[in-house]
Amino acid sequence: MSERLELLRLVRSRRPLLALAALLLFLVLMLVGFWSYAQARSGGAATFEYTYENKSYFNGLTFALYAFFFGFVLLLPLFAALEGGAQLAGDTGSGTLTLLLVRPVSKTRLFFGKLAVAFGWTTLLTALFVAAALLLGLFAVGWGDLRLYPGVLQSAPRPQFLPRDVALQRFALAWLAASLALLAPLSLSFWIATFTRSAVNAVGAAVALYLVAHVISEVHFFEALRPWLFTWHATAWRALFREEIAWRELAHHAAALLGQSALFLALAFRRFRRREEP
């Protein structure tokens, strides 16, 4: 079946190794960044066990959440876009799409087979990233309960406290929610990949659009546009780290994300099904 073939091709490609190496490097850089920041704040007295200004606040879980959030915003969408570009535009450019199209398999099956493998890989990559962030946090910083203050990781108006075990469960939920959120940049890259025969162009265009959307959704001036940008809804999983989860709010964001992903996918599929392969 086409999914098995796509999976084998993905495993044999350099993309998984590249993505894992980049994410691990990112985690190490984050850790070094926190440590050097704490060194500066503590006059060189910081150790990896207490790498922040308040040792009761910062621990391995806090580190993992910071790393996960910034990795999710900066790196994971790039790898999601890379899959879209490689799966469709890459195959078109190299001529291997023709190899698939001259077999008795429908374009529908091919398209959704590629999507399933790309989404599956993105989900696994997210899981590996979260697990690596937690493990690195555990070994380098040490675990404790999760305390969050209003700021980049938590938009709640008052400080939040989650016991360690509850926080770990929330990480598992956040992984699922973040994976779902990555479907949007993945779908966008699939759509763009139907217009070009070059994987580089497809990935570049998808990442550029993602960055523009992300910047617009972060700038208050464009507040009215936010509900229409998947990037605004994509980081809503942070609300899972509140003491009381606002499920209704999360469901609203999830529906918006899924709706936009479905739109990108519908456009991509329509074009892929109808287009000629000159």
Binding site: M1, R9, R12, T96, R103, P104, E277
Partner: protein, 323 residues
């Protein structure tokens, strides 16, 4: 019996440029058919139309009873295509490539079938090596092996001998003939190597600048192109060879055949008469045909002549239109 391939008044435009212009041809089941033409003649476009990768702008294409662009999946159950240059999955082995592609469409494939296809193209020893380590010729052979599993009813090959060594070309030729004759597989062979096409196919189509210049049997293309060279002698053995040749030339000219005398040999222009007609005329002049030689021009020359004729005709039409 309905045609395996039917192309009816097909035109394919890219923007305003017509890559194919009003092309019609039909290929019968079990036929070995050649598609020839220079670069840019429209061969690749026609192959892509057959594969359902392109939709005709006008006209209709049918393969095995289905329209490939609309019912590609149905066509591909029994049709296989190998395009040139072969695009393959670089990180897979030949065995994995053949097996996984054969499974697309839901059919179970026995390992024996995969091994047989790889053996048929001489790739068994390197079957478990990654494709990225393959030479161009090996890639060509792998593309053919892919097309053989499961065995198709229709096989369309684009430049299949390019990059192959002479031994592999002979093996490929034998394989294609066996598929066609023993298993009734319809084969369409697109190539610019006309000698290769000539040695294999029963009929061929010649494309030039998107137009079909010829479609038919090679004998049909050759008709009237064979030049006859003969050596004669008097029946009673009286005169010498030179005077016999002069007498023969006179007899033939009297019958309206512009024979040219070259020493003791007479050269008859292409299509002026058959060997039997020449023999009868000479007998009437009390001369005997001692030797004959039929000169067959290469297929390239015949096709070039067709192309030149078509160009002259289109020039003539253009001049007529401007007057």
């Amino acid at each position: 019996m309905s045609a395996a391939v039917e192309v009816a008044a097909v035109t394919k435009r890219f923007g305003t440029r017509a890559a194919l212009d009003d092309v019609s041809l039909s290929i019968a089941p079990g036929e070995l058919f050649g598609l020839v033409g220079r670069n840019g003649s429209g061969k690749s476009t026609l192959l892509k139309l057959l594969a359902g990768l392109l939709a005709p702008s006008e006209g209709r294409v049918r393969l095995l009873g289905h329209e490939p662009f609309r019912a590609r999946e149905a066509v591909m159950r029994d049709a296989r295509f190998a395009f040139a240059p072969p695009a393959l999955f670089e990180t897979l082995t030949a065995r994995e490539t053949v097996r996984h592609l054969a499974r697309l469409g839901g059919r179970a494939v026995a390992p024996r079938e995969v091994d047989e296809a790889l053996a048929a193209v001489g790739l068994v020893e390197r079957a478990d090596d990654r494709v990225r380590t393959y030479s161009f010729g090996m890639r060509q052979r792998l593309a053919l092996a892919i097309a053989l599993v499961p065995r198709p009813r229709l096989l369309v090959l684009d430049e299949p001998t390019e990059g192959l060594d002479p031994q592999a070309v002979l093996a490929l030729r034998a394989l294609l003939l066996a598929l066609c004759r023993d298993h009734g597989v319809t084969i369409v062979l697109a190539s610019h190597l006309l000698g290769e096409v000539e040695s294999l196919v029963d009929r061929l189509a010649l494309l030039q600048e998107g137009r079909l210049l010829f479609c038919g049997a090679i004998d049909e293309l050759r008709a009237g192109s064979e030049r006859l060279r003969i050596v004669v002698a008097p029946r009673d053995g009286g005169a010498g060879a030179a005077s016999a040749a002069s007498a023969a030339a006179a007899a033939l000219r009297a019958a309206g055949i512009a024979a040219t005398l070259r020493g003791d040999t007479l050269e008859l222009p292409a299509g002026s008469c058959t060997l039997e007609q020449a023999r009868a005329l000479l007998q009437a002049a009390r001369l005997e045909l001692l030797e004959f030689h039929v000169e067959r021009p290469p297929l390239e020359a015949l096709l070039d002549r067709r192309v030149a004729q078509a160009k002259a005709a289109s020039h003539g039409a253009a001049n007529g239109a401007t007057r």
